[in-house]
């Protein structure tokens, strides 16, 4: 085992641990993640496998194949994060809106309230 393999495997181990703890309740995400981790571990230990696979898929080098796949995964993650942010923004807006409406001041009673 080379140095880089050790570094990468340690990284994967930490990231997986973190995600498994966070994602306990989401089965689909967990399955997806498990597949990714497995692929990462296999390719780190037997890097030649990526080259063999790349050749079958018409890509020259294994490293290139990994790179292309990473871009795909990256976009998937970005989209998922955006969906999550929009969801958060929605609940956040609802809370702010309800708070604002309950504290609305009517004409003539525009006293400074505890808005700050």
């Amino acid at each position: 085992m080379t140095g880089i393999q050790l570094v990468l495997l340690t990284g994967v181990a930490f990231i997986s641990l973190y995600f498994i703890i966070r994602l306990k309740k989401k089965l689909l995400d967990l399955v997806l993640l498990a597949a990714l981790i497995l692929a990462a571990v296999i390719f780190i230990i037997w890097p030649d496998l990526t080259t063999a696979l790349a050749k079958k898929l018409g890509v020259g080098r294994g490293a290139d194949l990994v790179f292309y796949l990473s871009i795909l995964i990256f976009w998937f993650v970005v989209l998922k994060l955006y969906a999550r942010i929009r969801q958060l923004e929605k609940s956040f807006s609802q809370i702010i809106r309800e708070d604002a409406i309950t504290k609305a001041s009517a004409p003539g009673v525009n006293q400074p309230t505890d808005h700050e």
Binding site: L79, Y82, A83, R86, E89, K90, F92, S93, I96, R97, D99, A100, I101, K103, A104, S105, A106, P107, G108, N110, Q111, P112, T113, H115, E116
Partner: protein, 234 residues
């Protein structure tokens, strides 16, 4: 033009003005609108310095977001609050002095005659419109086409903040786009709920202030991005 003061009082008309970090210009907009006798709701969208002290002398409803959410969110807050007042007509207006309450009469006309559920102001239909800045023109015409692609409605203007709604439109339209993409979302809502709409010429004043406060060309890229996300994560 019919005097605003002589609008039949049997109709309850509410004007919603979303405002963010406004000052003297907002006050002048309010002073201009008060004589119409309409109910004014100012939605302070989390301005750095709350606007309530500044607005204290004026008879209006004041609502403040604790954090800045965007104009779309401020409008929806205004709508939610307006529903409690059971208005016949709701008007939305920018706080930066671009719109004039003198335009309101022609805006509410199609609602009073029950020709439309929602009336949208259009600067490109107005013969009295002084020159629209060239970059603004390019952006607005591109935005019209993008709105057409997304909503199927081809209007003569895009992102004009002066609008009028009747009670039906108020009940049906919900804005979820917090930022400027709400202008397109309103078109989606018109289409979805099969609301009748009409465009009416309005004049927009391009002052140095409103240009500074308004949308930059880059903001439109952000709006497009928001629109795509809106469609993706329906």
């Amino acid at each position: 033009m019919q005097d605003l003061l002589h609008t039949p009082p049997k109709h309850k008309i509410v004007v919603i003005i979303p405002a963010y970090n406004e000052g003297a210009v907002l006050i002048s907009v309010i002073k201009e609108t008060l004589p119409t006798g309409f109910v004014i709701i100012v939605v302070d969208d989390g301005s750095d310095i709350p606007l309530n002290k500044m607005l204290q002398p004026y008879p209006l409803f004041y609502i403040r977001h604790r954090a800045n959410l965007g104009q779309g969110a401020a409008l929806q807050t205004g709508f939610n609050f307006a529903k409690k007042l059971n208005p016949d007509i709701i008007i939305t207006m920018d706080a930066d002095g671009q719109h004039h309450s003198s335009s309101i009469n022609s805006m509410i006309e199609p609602l009073l005659t029950n020709e439309a559920d929602i009336v949208l102001g259009s600067r490109f239909l107005s013969p009295g419109q002084t020159s629209v800045p060239i970059m603004k023109k390019v952006v607005l015409h591109t935005a019209r086409l993008i709105n057409y692609i997304f909503s199927g409605l081809l209007l003569s203007d895009a992102h004009n903040g002066l609008r009028a709604f009747n009670a039906t439109a108020l009940q049906k339209i919900t804005i979820t786009e917090n930022r400027m993409a709400h202008a397109s979302e309103i078109l989606f809502e018109i289409k979805k709920h099969k609301l009748r709409f009409k465009e009416v010429p309005v004049t927009i004043s391009y002052t140095a202030y409103s240009k500074k406060k308004g949308q930059s060309t880059w903001d439109s890229v952000r709006i497009l991005f928001d629109l795509i996300l809106h469609k993706l994560f329906k």
